[in-house]
């Protein structure tokens, strides 16, 4: 069966600094992949290359067999325009460390914005779906609150609902709980666990090792721009093969 997401020899340079060095990765539909690793190892950069927020220096990302951001015409390869890319991006939701809710819109308006503007859904239908999503993330009573009136955990749950409203086939999470007070982490992880149980395909950069152990089907350890070790989380966490993995785990576990 074709994997949902396939990353082939992906490299990314910032000037002379090579941040990603020929990364290979596959993600099967319905799987949860957790990416862990020390700060600066290139986890965010990898995630941002998947939806072309960063343009890879070389290599390719395939979503459902189609290259992301690139298009063949005859035997020539062309870069996609921003507007072509935006069609592909609809399939990849992304949740950021800093939430990035639209501050001038209420929770409900944040969620219905893209379905109405991009998918051209009617307001009534978009609103109905948004209420269902708010209910799902446990914020049914916060529909008319502005982001600044919500706690960090609540903002992040609205951000998840906002992404889900576009009905993506894949969800990307970049350290979704790192900006939260410790007592608010649990409510966001609970929503993510529920999503995983419902069969959503997820790629999650995280420092929450217990989440990775319990929820991930696949754990990827990155260091220095390469995937040092990958496998089932139980194996990687309890029986790491590499010294770099061992020393990282010794620090975070």
């Amino acid at each position: 069966m074709m994997p949902l997401l396939n990353v082939e020899r992906l490299s990314k340079d910032f000037g002379t600094h090579q941040v990603l060095k020929s990364i290979d990765l596959t993600v099967a539909a319905g799987d949860v992949t957790c990416i862990v690793g020390p700060s600066g190892s290139g986890k965010s950069t990898l995630l941002r290359c998947l939806n072309y927020l960063e343009v890879p220096t070389s290599g390719a990302v395939y979503l459902e067999g189609e290259p992301v951001g690139l298009r063949f015409k005859g035997d020539k390869l062309y870069r996609m325009s921003f507007n072509e890319l935006s069609v592909q991006r609809q399939k990849m939701g992304m949740v950021f460390q800093g939430f990035h809710l639209f501050p001038h819109k209420t929770a409900l308006e944040n969620i219905i914005e893209a379905p109405m503007i991009v998918k051209r859904k009617g307001r009534a239908q978009a609103t109905e779906e948004a209420h269902a999503l708010l209910d799902k993330v446990g914020l049914a009573d916060r529909a008319d609150y502005y982001p600044r009136q919500l706690s960090g955990g609540q903002q992040q749950r609205v951000a998840i609902a906002r992404s889900l409203a576009m009905q993506p086939t894949l969800m990307l999470f970049d350290e979704p709980t790192s900006a939260l007070d410790p007592e608010l982490v649990g409510e966001v992880l609970a929503v993510m666990r529920q999503l995983a149980e419902e069969g959503m395909t997820m790629v999650v950069v995280t420092h929450e090792m217990s989440f990775a152990r319990d929820v991930a089907d696949h754990l990827v350890f990155m260091d220095g721009g390469i995937i040092v070790e990958a496998g089932h989380p139980k194996d990687v966490l309890s029986n790491p093969q590499h010294s770099r993995t061992r020393s990282f785990l010794a620090r975070v576990l």
């Binding site: 935006s86 991006r89 609809q90 639209f102 501050p103 893209a114 992404s163 576009m166």
Partner: protein, 313 residues
């Protein structure tokens, strides 16, 4: 620590039973009395000085000639602001584009029109005919489609509009650019991951947020513009000030007519300040404002501040 013997106050009253005397600042009272005295003298001058001729002020305050000038001042203010904002938006977008030709052009535009005083520009545009006697629209190296002499196009009004609007456009461009740049990159990235196009992101996400930042200095600029329109009197354009000047050159009632103009400028700038406060408040989605609160905040307003908020950018 060694025991410090507590001095028991011998024959002092109970600290809880009497009120302390407030700190006394003689300078407050002396300074206040001095300024108050000067204010009284000034008001007495306004009331008793016969040269002020309040009856003449009253006679001309609502005269058709003055009201027509007032109308032209308002028209000039708003037309130059609208034109300036349109050009300013284009310049701001050019400034933010990645095309180096656009960047350089917009930089030069802002540099020039912020550097040349509006008065110099007004005179210059009015005399444009001396530099370029004729303007024409033609196919390059082909036939001329339309032509006219510059002097027939440059009227006092169009020269005034060009000078005031171009100056405004340079300031507006910088405000709009700063407003757009103040929006966190995360906002555009979030919009991109939702599948929004660049135009949708600009229209739905960036501009609405930038507007909250841009509107207050634009309100401020509108008030400045109201005062700057008085420069057009050098082009003999009968705005509020020039209308007053025309009257006193006939009647020699210089001071009363200048007071008429002053009163109207104060009325208009006060109204604009109140409007600006109201809009600013609405943009912060605050509760409905009470008139009393607006009036109170008037004295804290930018009305008294630096011109054009350059120091704030």
């Amino acid at each position: 620590m060694a025991d410090i013997p507590i001095k028991s106050p011998a024959r002092q009253p109970d600290i809880h039973s009497i009120k302390p005397v407030d700190v006394f600042h003689p300078s407050w009272w002396i300074g206040g009395a001095l300024v108050l005295g000067l204010a009284v003298l000034f008001i007495r001058l306004l009331v008793t000085n016969e040269n002020l001729q309040w009856s003449v002020v009253w006679q001309y305050l609502f005269s058709p000639e003055i009201l027509a000038g007032l109308g032209r001042t308002l028209m000039l203010t708003f037309l130059s602001m609208i034109l300036g904002l349109i050009i300013g938006t284009v310049i701001a977008v050019m400034r933010l584009s990645r095309n180096p030709v656009f960047q350089a052009t917009s930089w030069a535009w802002i540099w020039f029109f912020r550097g040349v005083p509006p008065l110099v520009q007004l005179v210059f545009w009015y005399n444009l005919g001396l530099l370029i006697p004729e303007v024409s629209i033609a196919i390059p190296f082909g036939p001329t489609l339309w032509s006219a002499s510059t002097n027939s196009l440059i009227t006092p009004l169009s020269a005034a509009l060009l000078g005031l609007a171009f100056t405004e456009s340079a300031y507006a461009a910088e405000m709009i650019r700063a407003g757009i740049q103040a929006i966190n990159l995360g906002q555009t990235e979030a919009a991109a991951t939702l599948g929004m196009t660049q135009a949708q992101t600009l229209r739905r996400i960036v501009l609405p947020q930038a507007l909250r930042i841009i509107v207050p200095p634009i309100g401020n600029d509108t008030i400045s513009m109201l005062k700057f329109t008085s420069l057009v009197s050098v082009l003999a354009l009968p705005d509020l000030l020039y209308s007053a000047q025309m009257i006193y050159s006939r009647t020699y009632q210089t001071i009363p007519l200048l007071i008429v103009a002053t009163i109207w400028y104060l009325v208009l700038s006060t109204i604009l300040t109140l409007a600006e406060h109201y809009i600013e408040h609405r943009l912060k989605d605050g509760p409905p404002l009470e008139l009393q609160l607006i009036l109170k905040s008037l004295f804290k307003s930018k009305f008294w501040g630096l011109r054009r908020g350059e120091a704030m950018l």
